[in-house]
Subunit: 355 residues, 2 copies
């Protein structure tokens, strides 16, 4: 069998660490290096940083170009940011080094939605260097878009789509808490929305564009709404403690209109400790069409774990994809990679060959 697939991870936050942990366990894969934006992490061994008792012999680097020249990875997983504009520099560097890339930056799930010009540049650059680039993640990238598209495949007509993800943010850290306005007063939450320190969910526009492109729908506009979820009880996590009257999260919704009618409604209230007010978490997709389709699950699919797994599971698909920029909707369905990663690469290559 060939040498292991050499993977570089960008990012040492919760997601980058989770991805690195998975890669260390996967047969056929070698975690070849880890890059961090944070200078203070440079030179540290990865092991303790990702919760292992021992050093793993992988030293975190703060110099992407030098790392790439030294370790020459086959593919990189980017977990450093959320926005296309912020991701594009690292992505371009990776592509120029001939490295395939999977990004979990939310906007990269459908980058043309927020940044059509950068998307086009990344696509052309990836084509020129003959590597594939994919954005993925649980949301956007799976629950509120790919799963919706897949279920639409059994419909001959569709009037409207409603998808809802009610999740629990209790396990997340300070960055996520701040982005949802958790712990603020309702007034400070409003001010946070205005000055964009409170953002709610990043990904609605990407999910809607992925769905409408797949279905062939032209839409006129998308309306987003962010509302404070004000708690009536005390709620507490390892990172934050809030009192009645304070903000426990952000109820973020987006509605897409076609011919004046709401055709896609995405609902995603995110908060800490929802169960304390009797709120059940879960994922639901409802298609009003021919036939109607309704699927749901509770509690919600855990976002962090699922995003890490999905990024790793897509490695062999991206390694065998055509050069250029891809979305989850134009690659074959993801699957759990439960054997040696190299066997998956070989199988996907075989599937594409013909006599």
């Amino acid at each position: 069998m060939h040498d292991c697939i050499r993977v570089l991870v960008l990012g040492t936050g919760q997601m980058g660490s989770g991805i690195a942990r998975l890669l260390l366990e996967k047969p056929g894969i070698e975690l070849a290096g880890v890059y961090a934006r944070r200078k203070e992490r440079s030179g540290l061994d990865l092991g303790p940083l990702i919760g292992l008792d021992i050093a793993v012999g992988i030293v975190i680097s703060n110099d992407l170009d030098a790392t790439l020249e030294k370790i020459r990875p086959d593919i990189a997983i980017q977990a450093t940011c959320s926005r296309v504009a912020d991701a594009a520099g690292e992505l371009s560097t990776l592509i120029r080094h001939g490295v395939h890339v999977i990004s979990i930056a939310e906007e990269m799930a459908y980058p043309a939605a927020s940044s059509p010009a950068i998307s086009e540049q990344l696509h052309r650059l990836a084509c020129a260097h003959r590597v594939a680039l994919l954005g993925t993640g649980i949301n956007p990238g799976f629950i509120l878009d790919l799963l919706v598209i897949m279920l639409s495949g059994i419909c001959s007509d569709i009037q409207s789509i409603t998808a809802r993800r009610v999740n629990d943010l209790s396990s997340y850290g300070p960055t996520v808490m701040a982005s949802q306005g958790i712990g603020l007063s309702p007034e400070a939450f409003q001010k946070g929305l205005e000055n964009k320190t409170v953002v709610g969910h990043i990904g609605f526009v990407q999910s809607i564009h992925m769905i409408t492109a797949a279905l062939g729908w032209e839409i006129e506009r998308i309306e987003e709404k962010q509302e404070a979820i004000v708690t009536h009880v005390r709620r507490q996590t390892p990172f934050v403690s809030i009192e009645p009257g304070q903000v426990a999260g952000c109820n973020h919704t987006a509605v897409a209109y076609r011919k004046g009618k709401a055709v896609i409604t995405l609902i995603h209230p995110q908060q800490i400790c929802p169960s304390l007010e009797g709120i059940e978490t879960g994922d639901t997709i409802e298609i009003e069409g021919t036939p109607n389709v309704s699927l749901s699950g509770a509690p919600e699919i855990p976002g962090g774990q699922a995003t890490c797994a999905l990024a790793v599971n897509m490695i062999p698909r991206v390694l065998t994809a055509s050069p250029g920029l891809h979305t989850m909707a134009d690659l074959p369905v993801p699957a759990a990679m439960l054997g040696d990663a190299r066997l998956f690469v070989n199988r996907y290559k075989r599937e594409q060959m013909y006599d």
Copy 2:
């Protein structure tokens, strides 16, 4: 824009008729001809046969070769049979005429499971004639396999998979009733199983092979079990009426073993009027893994409608797929085709191109 996509439908039963009705309504598609195995349908106009008040000017043919030479379709949808061995003759003829094919024959969802030699021949023939061949349908082809695979994509490890489809056969005709042993005594049901007049569900082996191939699991054996669902109340449909003590359907299950452990369990009780005994129909997928995944919907996705829609929705994907035999797991996720079919073909071609 190019000419319409010319489609030939094989089969004038419930599925063939449903597919023909959908094709007549789809922009960018021309239903170019219909072939029936039943000689007595030859020469009839399609319209009245598929429930329309008027003739549609499409005359049903009983001669496949002559039809192909006359109408020269781009793609055919086969809805004439369930088994690979039975499907292969028509498929070979279609392929030799350079026609892409979508088959809803159950075993064609993963034809290598029942008929590896014929599968290989069909693959080579399709490659030689540079056409794509796909098996699809709601089950096998979607609920108990493709959806399972897709949900596995968010798991980093999996211990076991259980998928259940409880459906209502009340709307089906005499052929389906007979295949499930509906109306028989429990003794006659047993005898029917032995002499293979009662078959239960066709597709478990195909679904299991599709899942295990996607996940990289080697399994040792598959155990199937068919049990009579004996009614305690009178149940009646337009085609059959049964009394307490008679068989209302077949509870068919399949279990796949890996390293001595049951890893995939598929459960599919099919019967008429389940609600009369308080049985709720629905679809459920449960993955015990990291993370656990559970999704369900009730009532069940209607099999006939969904299969017809899925076959039609896959047309542009098959027209733009690489030559050879495909399964739903190696093509991009299906999507509802809600615009002109030619636009989808153009978009899929663009996705595959690079500069």
